[in-house]
């Protein structure tokens, strides 16, 4: 009885606090195609692997509880082979094939390949301990801890670092990519619709790591042009 009385409010508390997976950094509330694909992969794998887990544990429990065959049963060898081949080879291989069938196209789609039409907008981001410096090449616009971009069009974020390794991550838009001194990595971002999205450093980078956040402001393409124009004149 007491157990029930304690667990009920606790459950409400968790559900309430996690608010249906919809926090500002939640990968499960995607707002761009790359994040959507990753969330889709998650739910698919979660479903498939829950079945695998239940199956394996169930089989194990059954194997422990069942009475062994009378000694020398001819079927024993066949059952063993079936378990080893079926569970040891077929099950993992089949799961891997299913995963790759969905995963390879999803991964391909996330790459910063040249878009079918037009060109991707280029934004340069330089990571520092502990802030992000954003440049719009050819415009002279420089921002700190902010990225502004248009919705619905591909954006290539060119990442590098001025000191240690950081990692640029806007969970609702796309996966993360490291910013490494001496290297330049390109991350493809794309947002479905205008709004403000939050980003953070994902690679441990020292004392200020926990506070190395930034915001991504996404506009309609027209509003973005207007913002860029205004930002150039501000200087």
């Amino acid at each position: 009885m007491t157990g029930g009385r304690i667990t009920a409010p606790l459950a409400v508390f968790i559900l309430g606090s996690s608010a249906g997976c919809g926090g500002p950094y939640s990968t499960l509330d995607p707002a761009g195609p790359a994040a959507s694909a990753a969330a889709f992969l998650w739910w698919g794998m979660f479903g498939l692997f829950t079945l695998v887990l239940v199956f394996v544990v169930g089989l194990w429990l059954y194997a422990m509880r069942r009475d062994p065959d009378p000694a020398g049963g001819q079927d024993v060898g066949r059952v063993h082979r079936r378990l080893l081949v079926g569970g040891g080879l077929v099950l993992p291989m089949a799961s891997i094939l299913v995963l790759l069938a969905f995963g390879i196209p999803a991964g391909h789609m996330m790459l910063p390949l040249p878009p079918a039409e037009g060109e991707a907008l280029r934004i340069d981001v330089r990571a520092h301990q502990w802030y992000w410096e954003t440049h719009y090449p050819g415009t002279g616009v420089r921002l700190v801890d902010e990225v502004h971009m248009p919705a619905g069009v591909p954006v290539n974020v060119h990442l590098t670092s001025e000191d240690v390794i950081h990692s640029f991550w806007v969970p609702r838009l796309a996966g993360k990519l490291d910013a490494i001194p001496g290297h330049e990595n390109v991350l493809r971002l794309r947002a479905y619709s205008p709004g403000i999205y939050r980003g953070q450093c994902a690679e441990f980078c020292g004392v200020g790591h926990a506070h190395m956040q930034f915001t991504v402001h996404v506009y309609t393409p027209e509003d973005f042009e207007a913002w860029l124009e205004a930002a150039q004149h501000d200087d």
Partner: protein
Amino acid sequence: MTDRNNAAAGELQQGLGRVWANLPGLGALAAVNHTTLGLRFMVTGAVFFLIGGLLAMLMRTQLALPEQEIIGAQLYNQFFTMHGTVMMFLFAIPILEGLAIYLIPKMIGARDLVFPRLTAFAYYCYLFGGLIILLSLVMGIAPDSGWFMYTPLSSAEFAPGPGSDFWLLGITFVEISAMATGVELTVSILRTRTAGMSLRSMPIFCWYILVMALMIVFGFPPLILASILLEIERAAGLPFFAVAGGGDPILWQHLFWLFGHPDVYIIFLPAAGVVSTLIPVFAGRPLVGYRWVVLSVITTGFISFGLWVHHMFTVGIPHLAQAFFSVASMLVAVPTAIQVFAWIATLWSGRVAWSLPLLWIMGFLVVFVCGGLTGVMLALVPFNWQVHDTHFVVAHMHYVMVGGMLFPVLAALYYWLPHLSGRMASQRLGYWGFWLFFIGFNMTFLLMHLTGLEGMPRRVYTYEAGLGWDGLNLLSSVGGFVMGGGVAMIIIDVALHYRFGRQAPANPWNADTLEWATSLPPAPYNFVSLPTLSSRHPLWDQPDLPESMAAGQHGLATMAHGRRETLGTDALHGKPREIIHLPTNSWLPLLGALALAVVCISLLLRAYPAALFGVALAAALFLRWSWENGVHLKAAPLADDEPDDLPLHSRSCDGPGLWGMVVSLLANGALYLSLLFAWFYLWTASPGWRVPDERAVALLPFLAAGALLSIVMALYHRAAIRAVQGDAEGLGTRLWQISALGVVHWGLLAWVLYDAALAPTELAHDAVLLVMLLYLLIHSALAVVLTVLQALRVGYGYVGARLPYELLVLRPFWIYTLGVFWLSFAAFLLLPMAWGGQ
């Protein structure tokens, strides 16, 4: 008749007891016996586990609520770095090594490991290295760049304090211990199984440990090299990992994970070996698919060296490479699944006896399969890009490590506890311990998957309220404390059982393996006599074997010579080949490790003269160590009553020392290959790589040094062969001549280095060349010193026509030295010329 037999057996046991006993009082520190040292390893590991656990509790306290400042960022960074470091390097690996050290000789029917002094040395290196690292925590200057120590965060510029140095030097110290154990376990398993125990009839646990030991031999050198390079960079400014000088921080990540991923399997495999050992015992039937399991374990060992890049999917590695490593990472699920289903099949056709160890194995199954599945998820690159470096990975990693290692280790604890103490643990407290631990663990880490999916990154000391992470974190913290309660329960249970546990009967679980044929607790010599086996399940097929062994009715049941002895057998079939005489209690391992501790601390304090003194001291002690071998008075002096059916190994041509030398050289080769990898990686991938216009190393003197080395090697080879053929005429003189020529070669090589126009602090290119040349110089010097030692031993009559063994042990070292010389010439000097760089 029987009375007389009993009396004889009693006398034998007393005699063995005298020869095998540790020294009394403080003399216990000179112990070399594997039972004693295995226990010391495990107890020390358990203490480090509690320290690591305490750090985890502090971190969970800090994260329980958002925006807390109980522990600041600085301390939190030290804590999570130390938690990972302590758990991986000072708990998981050493405690499994301890388990193997304790069990392996007993399982293969040997009296001790094959290099007992090395066991003791390994323990002291572990203990001192661990204490040095711990000292940094107590002083508040612990490493704080993460247990993965990524450069440049861990480099001198961004981590100017001594924290990184503590990590690099302390961990390398501890790794010496792992390497020593790896070599020793490999040779012991291959060469000291009791008569008739072929590789195919070896207990399955020994296969797991054999693969683990070989993985240590090949897997640790990359990290050892990386640590040495980073420490040199920090102390002397050689830019291996600094972009400005043409180095690359990503090189560190490659070398670290080249070690780090095999390391996961180094930890998992012995634990899986425990599962494969216990399940057949509790099912009362042999393991189904023994050969399948052996093949899976070997396959896992191989695949695990091809996965390291999956820790680096967000680094910007070429996409084709990512695809390759992604598939390889998923494929490792296959051998794991084969083992899981072999266990299921074993349970399927056995009659299962329920018990506490089996409950822990059940917990292992649930948690580990779950962790394995999230591992396959993480191998999928597009998903990995989202959850990498979030709490999802923290959760996955703990499911794999705690599930795959700690649960089986606790099963092992309850299973072998009667073996250690001769008493049975209580059931009730044990069940409480399990359920608290299991529930607490899942509460902490199952929820953490969701925390990660909701975007909480790893290694943040605090977080904003209202991001959806608050409740999950609180529950994880509560779960952590429940788990802590479980650990406390287990400790109480184990402590109480020494006082209140009932006496364990012989072979309490009705197991099939030889370790249960010892007395409980075991005598230091394990077995009075060593049996000839014909079955994989000796105690099931010959239930009276323990009695006949204790009665001295099998091999090596003599005590008159007063030596510690065990049987040396053929690696494949277990045919007896020689009697291995083992060293007795010795202070040299302790003193040697202390000398290395002096080196380590001096380097930390940047007191280089003191470090040099420590190196010289250690070298002197190690040479003394090797001096007390063979027919030396402290080992096995020549006698009139030498056994004639089987020779003593030091009178043979193929003793364990030779095997130890070859396995050590494999490890050394892995270190050298890591250096080659670094060289080629920097050439091809480093963004700021620069090659000097002029070739720095003069070719002609280098070639002359090589030619001389080739001649020296050939002369040594001929001298050794002639000694084997019984011609030791002038052997001493020849060895002196060889040494002299070796010195000339060394001088030439040293001149090449002195003359080379290297700028190692400015160019990574030159820094790597410098390391390569130093590597060659050290090897040539060592080969010469060891040859001088042989020449001296000829003078003392320790080496000669009847005793060519040591010459043969040293020969592979000469071959190796010559091999790396010419390989270096090809890779570091010729190839770049062909490349057009110079």
